[in-house]
Symmetry: C2
Subunit: 243 residues, 2 copies
């Protein structure tokens, strides 16, 4: 239904996992310099943890999560949202199909993250901490190249194992173990002289915040997406990304 | 629209304010002993901070927020949710009208909080930290009496001033100031020999957690509501409150 009084402006496909979406929601709130409740962005958040595993599907060459994601996008469009954020990097593997099925613009999380990297970092190499599915999909590597960067992850298998473990521990709610795993992944980046890292899985910021090594430039893709969405809605002339 | 694959089971009327809803969302996640994403409850959260000030309306004898709240409940019903939580104590002033307009049961936050108080506390007096609107409405006092308790707030005006300030500071995102104000309200309770307190405004748990005086029994109404909703959805035979 379309509200007469209520209109959720930002639609969120979330729950993948739920803690990551709670973190994203919090970041959309922090992005608004509010003096009262009404200054905040109105939102509709679908938290649907039952959507099949995105990373596993990509690795198996399956589109199993796509009908679920399409339905979530359709549901948010039925509420008449202006723009949509998908609080899961891996799900962006299906971005083109989801965008084609949506009246509301879907803001791409990798574009938001890479815009921020571009503003903050003068070097040209960045590591991408992500699920194996996101890396297999290749959309971060492609977009980084288009923006003049090279994606370069530590070669040591301990790096991706630590990233996988951090993501899994956040999903289990084990934040201490997740922090340890994040710290280990950051250490591998430092070992290989990488000084810029994109947290390209929405679970990772939940654990990474306190364990970033000094001097390392970390782009939190969730935060970048939250900021981009809030800026577009507060500055309607910037509704379309002209980059 | 009604999903074929997706069905948000818990609907949340939120954004009143947004930080309070983010806290409530987090509590629904913490309430599930999940081993993977799919164990979590599917939800649709409407975060609509534009709903007019509930406490002011009650104090002025106005029903200004009611059409907005009715529309939020209608929107969640259109998504086919099973139960609805309103992440705002004060809005429960309009509970009867909202319930009458809803196919999905609306779980009453005061019932959830008082059930928990009943389980944990052998005394018979409890303080209610709430907006002036909630206190004026009187639904907590009435429900406490029905459960055999007396609502007894500190008489010193500094108590309610501190509660008001804590709520306002959370809405402004000033968590340190909010904690100080909460600590001051708890101290007034202790001064008057009150040993059980209900945090009956969803902003308060965001600030109160670290400043609860030792030995004070504090019922977090947001957490109680989150637990009750999750338990009902995980144990469908308890879908209706038989208390």
């Amino acid at each position: 239904m379309t509200g007469r009084l209520l209109r959720p402006r930002l639609g969120v496909v979330g729950g993948l996992g739920p803690l990551a979406t709670a973190d994203f929601y919090r970041k959309t709130i922090d992005a608004v310099p509010a003096e009262n409740d009404a200054d905040h962005i109105s939102m509709a958040i679908l938290s649907v943890p039952q959507i099949p595993d995105r990373s596993a599907a990509i690795r198996e060459g399956s589109d199993r999560p796509l009908p679920w994601l399409l339905e979530a996008v359709e549901m948010l469009n039925s509420l008449n949202v202006e723009i949509i954020a998908i609080a899961c990097n891996t799900a962006h593997h299906w971005y083109d199909a989801l965008s084609a099925g949506s009246r509301a613009e879907i803001v791409h999380i990798a574009d938001a993250a890479i815009d921020e990297l571009h503003r903050r970092y003068k070097g040209n190499r960045a590591a991408v901490m992500a699920t194996r599915g996101t890396l297999r999909s290749g959309f971060y590597q492609k977009r980084l190249e288009e923006a003049g960067f090279t994606c370069r992850n530590p070669a040591a298998p301990t790096f991706q194992n630590a990233v996988d473990d951090a993501i899994r521990q956040v999903k289990l709610g084990n934040l201490e173990q997740a922090k340890d795993a994040c710290a280990s992944a950051f250490a591998r980046c430092r070992d290989e002289g990488l000084e810029a890292v994109i947290l390209a899985c929405t679970e990772l910021p939940v654990a990474a915040e306190d364990v970033v090594p000094e001097g390392m430039l970390v782009v939190d893709a969730s935060r970048a997406l939250a900021l981009t969405c809030v800026q577009r809605l507060r500055n309607p002339d910037r509704m379309r990304n002209t980059a």
